[in-house]
């Protein structure tokens, strides 16, 4: 035990002190924070105000457009040809032309501009005109104003999960989806990145020929486990630092852009699928309701279960694959020869990532069930399902199979490792590996 501890210490310290680790640890959160902040920043700060000149020959829509900070509407009292030639001089960005309608209302409108008007602008104009047209047509048909405004009210869908004992629980669809995806992707990258590191470490010990000196002092299995555990601690350290640094960067950024705080929140809300039209006062209130609702659903998420199972699958998934990667490292002499062995090992990982969509669509279906039970795919697949709620017996089965799988694959890997580390200059085939298992 004492010797494993020495190996763990060496693996941990020698890697944490590496420049690449320090750079990755700092760069990772900066990139992640940038992923959150930059789009918001672009969407809110750097956007210049666009001015749309309106030439409305129909006379219906001059007042249909509400100007906002970023998009202003100005009526142009001139005909379209004059407007086209002079809009830039006046300082407008584009001309919206509504021709005189052939019948009552226009069916075609045009935007003239030199630069691209942008999808948002086009969508906003189309939506305003369509809204107005609908209202006018309804009015023409003699529908009451009250009815027309009442038509804008929609319904709010709430999905309730019925428990076995009749309990009711609000489902948190989108949030579950995001949570499951993020957590399972984290496991995927962690396994991949640190599994490869284990493999590299083994190859390094082989090529530098230090391996035989070391295994005359301890058992190959101790060395392998020490390396795998040491690296998992490096990974956990990095993960923890990322969480801390990312959180502080985002918090810092929120203070720095406190003017845009509301915008950021709005933006994030849109990201979570709640599209809100900021121009509508009624919906701004609705937005606060939504915030409260999201808070509500966040509170309803079973964090102890999610965090607990995340750590479990994170750790055991990595340990299982770490052992397999260590075996690959032992079987080859250099990085270039690893390909033929890496592929079969990573196929289950890739399958579980490809199954992300089907699983989120049907978290209790057969695909989701089997992938989250089989040890090689369960770390990722079960993590996708967990936020949606999984029956206890399935979690228990999946976890015990994963532990069993971990023990089995570590045993197999240990056998290959033991023989492989002392083999030099031989291209290893699968047949050869099979022989090693029976030494």
């Amino acid at each position: 035990m004492n010797k494993i501890w020495l190996v763990i210490q060496r693996e941990y310290l020698s890697r944490v002190q590496k420049k690449s680790f320090i750079i990755m640890t700092i760069l990772g959160p900066v990139l992640m924070a940038a992923l959150f902040i930059v789009p918001v920043y672009i969407a809110t700060v750097s956007d210049e105000t666009k001015v749309v000149g309106i030439v409305d020959e129909s006379g219906f829509f001059v007042d249909a457009f509400e100007s906002s900070d970023k998009l202003k509407f100005q009526e142009m009292h001139m005909d379209i040809d004059e407007a086209k030639s002079s809009y830039e001089k006046i300082g407008y960005n584009m001309v919206l032309y509504i021709p005189k309608p052939a019948y009552t209302y226009p069916s075609k409108i045009f935007i003239y501009s030199k630069s691209e008007p942008g999808m948002n602008v086009e969508r906003k104009i189309r939506r305003s005109i369509n809204d107005d047209l609908r209202t006018m047509r309804l009015k023409d048909a003699g529908v009451d104003d009250e009815v027309i405004s009442a038509m804008k009210d929609g319904v709010d869908l709430t999905s309730i999960k019925l428990g076995e004992n009749g309990s009711e629980e609000k489902r948190t669809g989108t949030l579950n989806f995001i949570l499951g995806t993020v957590l399972s992707l984290a496991i995927y990258f962690f396994i991949f990145f640190y599994g490869t590191q284990v493999m590299r470490g083994v190859i390094e010990e082989k090529t530098s020929r230090i391996i035989e000196v070391i295994i005359s002092s301890l058992k190959p299995f101790q060395l392998m486990m020490g390396k795998i555990i040491g690296l998992s601690m490096v990974g956990l350290t990095q993960f923890l630092l990322w969480v801390i640094i990312t959180t502080s960067i985002i918090t810092g950024a929120k203070f720095a852009f406190s003017d845009n705080l509301a915008e950021i929140e709005k933006y994030q809300m849109q990201k979570t699928g709640q599209v809100i039209d900021p121009s509508n006062q009624v919906e701004v209130n609705a937005q606060y309701d939504k915030t409260a609702e999201i808070l509500d659903t966040v509170m309803s998420i079973d964090f102890p279960v999610i965090i607990g199972s995340f750590l479990f699958y994170f750790l055991f998934g990595y340990l299982l694959y770490g052992a397999l990667f260590a075996a690959i490292g032992a079987a080859v002499d250099n990085d270039a020869d690893t390909q033929q062995f890496i592929l079969p090992v990573t196929i289950p990982l890739i399958i579980s990532i490809m199954a992300l969509q089907p699983i989120t669509n049907n978290p209790d279906g057969p695909v989701a069930f089997w992938l989250s039970i089989i040890p090689l795919t369960s770390p990722i697949s079960m993590m996708i399902r967990i936020p949606f709620g999984v029956p206890w017996w399935q979690i228990a089965l999946s976890m015990s199979l994963l532990v069993g799988g971990f023990i089995f694959f570590t045993w197999v890997a240990g056998k290959i490792y033991r023989v492989g580390i002392l083999m030099y200059g031989k291209k290893i085939s699968y047949k050869e590996l099979w022989k090693w298992l029976r030494y």
Partner: protein, 304 residues
Amino acid sequence: MDLLVAENITKTFAKHRALNKVSISVPENSIFGLLGPNGAGKTTLIRIINQITGPDSGKVYLGGEKLQPKHIEYIGYLPEERGLYKKMTVGEQSIYLARLKGLSKNDAKKQLRYWFEKYEIGAWWDKKVEELSKGMQQKIQFIITILHKPKLLIFDEPFSGFDPINTNLLKEEILNLRNEGATVIFSTHNMASVEEICDHIALINKSKKILDGKVSVIQDEYKTSTYEVEYDSNTTQLSEFLPANFEIIMKEELERGFRAKIKLPSDNFTNELLTAMMKNSRIKLFKEIIPSMNEIFIRRVTEN
């Protein structure tokens, strides 16, 4: 007393039999040479003694006890395939490897300080291994091997890749360690070094032991009662005055005088040879020809 005894060791890899009922006994406080051509099974035997692999059958005893994990600390091993972590500093690495052998951190430092001063290499402490030359790395490897004062030292082809200066240093140090009480096994196919420093040998060929014993005894066994004489006149032919059952194997003219190798029917005839020679010429040198280990090695291996 024998420090290490291996009895009937057999080891098979898939279809290849690496060792076939090999037994060796290494007397305490001696230097034991494990000889054999490449692929004979020397390294496998050494790995079994180091508990890197286990034998299929047979037993190993160290100091009278059955070989077990705690014995790792009593053994210092310099493998044929040897290296160091390239990116680690010399100091950290030495401490790490010493601690794996069971030394405490402080003891490791103390020992390292002693050896680094002895070889005047203290300046390397904070250097990364990749900054050192190969010769320097070999010195470090050697120090690490003997750092924990093992009772049994095992060197697998220790001189391969060593430059002449390091080879000499290593030889001296091995003899020193023996004089201080250590037992040394060393495996090689470099025969010259065997005669120089080994007390006992075992010769392994094609996974079987074909010869073992004390070096002087083996050489006595392979003697052919052949003597070398140097003398300075050639008035008469040797064959004319030597008895007919004395076989002249070789005769050559030197700058001053002559040299001949003569094979006698047995060692009891030396005085007869000398008497005959003295009558006819002035003798300058007379010595028994002892077969070199190299000759014995080649003879045994080709016979086998």
